[in-house]
Symmetry: C2
Subunit: 357 residues, 2 copies
């Protein structure tokens, strides 16, 4: 499978600041800690996403995040292909960690970026990814304050892997998580599911649609804050259903909370082209990854209000109440199908979509 | 080049909790976010380095590190081979980030662990690395509070890559860094240099010595704290000379501080076998990586005291004063050679030792 990683977006941004004719691709020396490493960091990475803190380039960043609790989350991104409709590995890496921090109920503040590059990775692609990292970080209001770059020999990596690790600050009194999920809680999802996984898979499989299916990759910090602000303590938990999809997220939370969960297939929001692609590919959208959706667990009597908040947000188009938390059995997720029967929704058991994020 | 990654240490620890006959190696499904991912995380990783916080397994960890400034640092580790005399990629990944945080003048508190595994990586090797991560974290007094595991297809990685990101807490008033380096400052190194790089390279090249050269990989948090406690504000900066060695660290700090630096070759501490190996391999030890040494910049009149503190610590055996900071020219590092001449010590320009960390 060969997928060209260069795309039309290249011509739109500023030109790569490292001369492509001289350094068309990443070499091992770009990761050696010497002069070429230094050029790569200063002339390309700092040029794309630098700021005063990052430019100090010590062993680490010094932060003053004020008093209060912090949320701390890490994620490595190995998605392939690196560029896809609606995003790329750079924006995805920022969104992924911003969302993990936001799901804890915190406001994301800073990010670290760890790059593992493969010898031979096109310099222009790195420039494009780095710019995309910058744009996504700016949009999410997070500063990139420290980083690291390694290079592995050809055939020992796959172009680019990105680790992002983030810190966010929690407002006083915020207490979200599986331990707060109660029987009767409404389960809401912030919009149509499965778009990210289907976007990647369609590209890999060469499926063509009238309009290409785009990833939903986006930063959920703002919609999450909105929900917290309106619902206060009646928002019990949030989770972004990435790898393994909604099914795996619900299973995990059902187990951790010691509750059961029941959802209705007919209520699951799905964009029609995604539904069509799932049928063609034989995939259950419940197991397909999302990168810009959240599941919220909300006190029963605030469900309508929560739905209104979600639906009123740009990233909440198509939000829906999909089910309820039950007393038990602990860890069991069930689904009422469109034809009326009820089935257990298991955790994903094999490998459905490798390298989706 | 084929290097067996299994070694004698395997038989000593507890057996791998995942049945090797059933799951001898990592498969793509171990990274899919479903049942096998869950087994890998719960039965192997949590078993090795779990704790209450990690076991909560939310999207991120919630931390209460108290008021005050934080140090935040990230590093990805791609060292090959994964196991080497005196350490492995797991302990190295912990030491590396603990040291970066400690060099900022902070006390390391928490770590995240991001694993990128290649399909086919032996389960027993992962168990061994995970145990090594645990031992190194315990020794450094840091808690592993959040993590992430991805799997890439065979031939798209190299067994295991590890990202560690750490947070440390700064005592009030601590102010270390290039901006505090002054002309006249003594430059000290905490012990013999080049051991890590030579340990890895000897293994790769199949060089045999009477006793194998071991990595110096170690956590510098304690020796760094000791130095800070004794010297207070007269400790101006610290740096651990990893990739690119002492030469690159000095060049970077000379540039950032706007000072010159002058060192004497005859004062550089070197273990005799390392000196011998450098001669055989044609390497200048100044450019070879260290993973358990620090360079300290200290007010002139406290140099003797600083040397005493270093030499009195288990990790400071062989500490030495190697030179002085000069007024300028800014960014220039010079060395008086053993035969009397003086030469400019450039930053490493090519790739000397790929994948040394």
């Amino acid at each position: 499978m060969t997928i060209s990683s260069a795309g039309p977006a290249l011509s739109q941004g500023p030109a790569c600041p490292i001369p492509i004719d001289r350094y068309p691709t990443i070499t091992l020396a770009h990761g050696g800690g010497g002069r070429l490493s230094d050029i790569l960091v200063r002339e390309l990475l700092l040029e794309a996403y630098g700021n005063d803190e990052l430019e100090r380039l010590g062993d680490g960043a010094l932060l003053d995040l004020g008093p209060g609790r912090l949320a701390f989350s890490t994620d490595s991104f190995v998605v392939y292909p690196h560029f896809f409709p609606g995003g790329d590995i750079g924006s995805l890496a920022v969104h992924g960690t911003v969302n993990d921090v936001a799901m804890c109920g915190a406001t994301p503040k800073v990010l670290s970026i760890g790059l593992i590059l493969e010898e031979g990775f096109p310099m222009e692609d790195l420039w494009r990814v780095a710019q995309s990292i910058r744009a996504a970080a700016d949009e999410a209001g997070v500063r990139i304050v420290t980083g690291d770059t390694k290079v592995v020999d050809r055939g020992k990596g796959d172009g680019i892997f990105i680790n992002t690790t983030g810190i966010g600050v929690l407002d006083e009194g915020v207490d979200l998580g599986a331990h707060r999920i109660e029987a009767g809680d409404a389960i809401l999802v912030s919009g149509p599911i499965a778009n990210h996984g289907i976007a990647i898979l369609s590209l890999r499989e060469g499926l063509e649609f009238e309009t290409p299916i785009e990833t939903d990759s986006a930063s959920l910090h703002d919609i999450a804050t909105r929900l917290r602000d309106v619902l206060g303590g009646d928002l019990h938990a949030m989770r972004d259903p990435t790898r393994g999809g909604v099914a795996s997220a619900l299973n995990e939370l059902a187990r951790t909370s010691g509750r059961g969960m029941h959802i209705e297939e007919s209520r699951l929001p799905l964009d029609p082209p995604v539904r069509g692609a799932c049928e063609i590919l034989g995939l259950d959208p419940l197991y397909v990854a999302n990168e810009g959706k959240l599941i919220a667990f909300v006190a029963e009597d605030r469900a309508d209000e929560a739905l209104e908040v979600l639906a009123g947000h740009l990233l909440g188009r198509g939000a829906a109440l999909i089910g309820r938390v039950t007393e038990g059995p602990a860890g069991r997720v069930t689904q009422k199908s469109t034809i009326g029967g009820s089935r257990v929704v298991e955790m994903l058991s094999g490998e459905q979509l490798p390298r989706i994020c």
